[in-house]
Subunit: 364 residues, 2 copies
């Protein structure tokens, strides 16, 4: 079928896919021992490590990995006053890595995520699955009941319009988690022992017009198509909120993908999420978000981007203005966030002058 | 969790769920030997058999099943001139069974569908899974990445608004098929040997605003909530089209569910679809539909139902008028179909005087 991606079926492909076109972005405050487990899959790729917290601390990276590492001093030096848009003491700092990457694709993963096994007991090469997801089209305009129609052994079912079978370009691939599910603090507290043991063998497109909670733990995207929308907001140190960085990026990104007719997938691959974060600490970080999201989500559900916005940057700046105007009424934090969204785009364009000049997204 | 349905885990529950509140509707032209395989699961329930084709033929039903059977003569006698809305020589005739049922729930299944096995080798009680789907809420307003949040071992993920966690009432449960997938004639022709072998262990809500191709092979619904929208249209004998009966019902039903804030689920349960229908015969039935669906789907994507329509019947009559006005321009068939949609509602209300008088759907 048109659009099917043929990928070697061994978990460690002899020639790693997109070896020179993908960066792995990892935010961390500790030594990266977790990379040992990922070595067979990650070693061929370049890593961008964003060190959060005390820049004087030395982060150890296992031997043999090709990486660049940025701490807070580096971020301040590179961005100058615009560094204010990059969060501190929060994994939201990872988006600095998206900005300095020079590659077409980014995969980002948390340092408490390990290699999961599929039901046959085989190690899951999460990165390879993300690449498959990104290189095959999405189906945002109509729902296919047999899930990803581009996968081997599947197709579009009866009643699926033929004009839509080419699908849309895929901008984002959102992977899931076995073991510790990505729950909020209240759910963690109510169900402290719940583990996700269900391996759902599916990849699906999040339909156009539908928002979803995007988790940053196990996520890949096409920088050229959607990079400037992947801003993880102002969280952590000095901010009234945390743990909404990936959610914020997901809502902004999805509205822009819908506007530019780009696709977003969720499902496979799974990673093994090793340990639950402290629900009491999480509740403190989240509690304003828990209130605010009741307004934020209707805001994004109703947000429309003007037709003339034909690049991700233009779309994002339009959203920033809407955030200022509509969410600014809820709390002054959103005015600060809207300013930071504008700064983020300025910084992005400064570090990515070639993509700033050309058309992004739809027009590409 | 609120909304979780506790159901015995054995495949044959000692007390069958909803035994006196559910009818099984089967359209057929042949002896119902396929029921032997379903006996452990179906025998406690009442069957409504709609005999298509020659009414002089005798359909044999295996011993021990409780059933009523209607042939074309019965349909003509019961509905009089309104029988014109019920298709002949097409499985669309099944919707007559929905109309004469006196139960709250309907499960409909084709006579070439057998019991499938789950990955552990256990027989799947499809009916039990449909009932679980119908008795637990749906989540049409926001997407949950871990699929059905009401299922044991799952929940709403971080970033899911708390105000939406009660979900919506579930009106429809759409099950899938192992072995022969539900492909259209062109896809059958291109991939004659494709079989669906992937068991995806998930139930999900089709988001609000998203249309999907509803297949009538393995389908359950809440008659009280959505029954009058489950009209399978004019197909088969004397009509220019076939094999779009369930699609038509699915599109109408989904637009109405979205309007009334009702939920539609798809995924589990699987049945084993035993044999592919003849793709050449199918192509003849389908080819007009293949063209027309290119206009029909945008029509339904853009259809809006006036606020004052607060029953399924009112919604359906509004849709019928829109079909007449907008799709009537494509082909006179749609004028005839719009007339039949009105006749269907008249016939429904005649046979269901109590539900005709009370409010359906949202207002209930």
């Amino acid at each position: 079928m048109a659009g099917t991606v043929t990928v070697p079926s061994a978990s460690v492909p002899s020639t790693p896919l997109l070896k020179d076109e993908l960066d792995i972005v990892i935010p961390t405050i500790r030594n990266l021992d977790f990379l040992e487990m990922w070595r067979p899959f990650f070693q061929p790729y370049h890593l961008i490590i964003v060190q959060d917290g005390d820049p004087a601390k030395t982060i150890k990276v296992p031997e043999g990995f090709d990486y660049e590492l940025y701490n807070r001093n580096d971020i301040n030096r590179i961005l100058g006053p615009k560094a204010s848009c990059i969060s501190f003491k929060d994994s939201a700092c990872r988006c600095f890595g998206y900005m300095v990457s020079k590659k077409k694709y980014v995969f980002t993963i948390d340092d408490d995520c390990f290699v999961a096994k599929d039901p046959s007991g085989k190690d899951i090469n999460a990165l390879e699955q993300h690449i498959k997801n990104l290189l095959s089209p999405s189906t945002p305009f109509f729902f296919n009941t047999l899930y990803d129609p581009y996968r081997e052994g599947a197709d579009f079912v009866r009643g699926y319009p033929f004009s839509l079978r080419e699908g849309a370009k895929t901008a984002v691939s959102h992977g899931l988690w076995l073991n510790i599910p990505d729950y909020d603090a209240p759910t963690q507290m109510v169900k402290p022992r719940e583990r996700n043991t269900r391996y759902v063998d599916a990849v699906m497109t999040v339909p156009k017009g539908t928002l979803f909670p995007m988790c940053g733990m196990n996520l890949a995207f096409d920088r050229d198509l959607i990079g400037p929308a992947m801003y993880f907001g102002l969280m952590g140190d000095g901010q009234p909120i945390g743990r909404y960085d990936d959610m914020w990026a997901g809502w902004c990104m999805k509205v822009i993908c819908d506007h530019l007719s780009l696709g977003v997938k969720t499902g496979l691959p799974y990673i093994w999420h090793s340990k639950a974060s402290n629900p009491f600490v999480n509740l403190k970080k989240e509690y304003k978000g828990i209130f605010w999201q009741e307004d934020i989500i209707p805001f994004f559900q109703n947000a429309t981007i003007p037709k003339e916005c034909d690049t991700v940057q233009k779309c994002y700046l339009s959203l920033a203005e809407q955030v200022r105007e509509k969410l600014g009424k809820i709390d002054p934090y959103f005015i600060k966030l809207a300013d930071a969204m504008v700064t983020w785009i300025e910084a992005w364009d400064e570090l990515n002058p070639s993509t700033a000049a050309v058309e992004n997204g739809k027009a590409k």
